[in-house]
């Protein structure tokens, strides 16, 4: 049996300044519990209330998007998993990243869509957000993630970074990163 090198994991997390991370099947209550831990951590770190709220909001939108997608695709529990990491970069800014398995084509569309947001300034993002807010629920994008992603993009101080790694059985691992 392979033994986990917990120390190597820990050193890896520390090196990347990861303060909180999670990997595995994610439930509604788990999202709330990790959210609590995150809020406590931010309070302990004496983050500005507005920054703490933005980090929490981005975390919630990312993880709920993952849950909605898994539900809509009727994924089995083990496939409804998420990998989430919250860290600080060299400049002390909070970084929220989350990834999940998606159908390859959905993943491609998502990456394209996220990339199309990069050149937009704050006012353009707000306009796109308000437009999406007014769309009927059935009219959301294929990913169903439109409004949440726009909200995340608005809270991020740099353009969102999305990437896709192809996996077996027509799937891909989609990951998204926001900097607050």
């Amino acid at each position: 049996m392979e033994t986990y090198d917990l120390l190597a994991m820990r050193e890896n997390y520390n090196r990347q300044r990861i303060m909180l991370c999670f990997n595995g099947p994610i439930s509604r209550s788990l999202i709330e519990e990790i959210g609590n831990a995150l809020r406590n951590y931010l309070t302990a770190e004496q983050a500005q209330p507005s920054a703490a709220m933005d980090v929490f909001a981005v975390y919630i939108e990312m993880t709920q998007n993952i849950r909605h997608y898994a539900t809509r695709m009727n994924y089995a529990e083990s496939d409804a998993a998420a990998t989430v990491a919250i860290s600080r970069d060299e400049q002390g800014r909070y970084v929220v990243a989350a990834g999940n398995l998606v159908e390859r084509e959905d993943g491609r569309q998502l990456v394209e869509w996220v990339e199309s947001l990069a050149p937009l300034d704050k006012a353009q993002l707000k306009a796109a957000y308000k437009e999406q807010l007014r769309k009927p629920r059935s009219g959301e994008s294929a990913s169903g993630a439109g409004l949440g992603l726009l909200d995340i993009a608005r809270k991020s101080s740099v353009p969102l970074l999305a990437s896709l790694s192809e996996q077996a059985e027509g799937r891909a691992f989609f990951s998204l990163r926001a900097v607050i």
Binding site: P49, S50, M53, D54, E61, Q64, R67, H68, L133
Partner: protein
Amino acid sequence: MTELNINGTQSTPAIQGDWLAGVLAMQGDSYPENSFELFGQVIDWVERFLHEATRPLALELRLLYLNTSSIKALMDILDLLEEAHRKGQPVSVNWHYDSRNERVAELAEEFREDCSFPFAILPYSE
């Protein structure tokens, strides 16, 4: 039943609808996964009030963080108020927020942009 009384949880706001007084109050965070399980009944209550009652309806909000699903639901409620206002029924919103958290004021401001009825954003300090 014309009263609405929903207890709050960590991820859902406490909600009270006082039919006689014409006041709908909501306090707390709102980030349920499916906001319509919660807000569906609130939207029904507001629709019914605006349809059956002719007296003013006031929203007293102390909402903090709202996920996008809750924002959409609240927008639906404010759209109902806007429609009633255009028909001449008095409606209003008072959104109270902790002065230390400007994000809440910004959130309220974005809602106010789409409303033409009286909408006050009121800071308080603890």
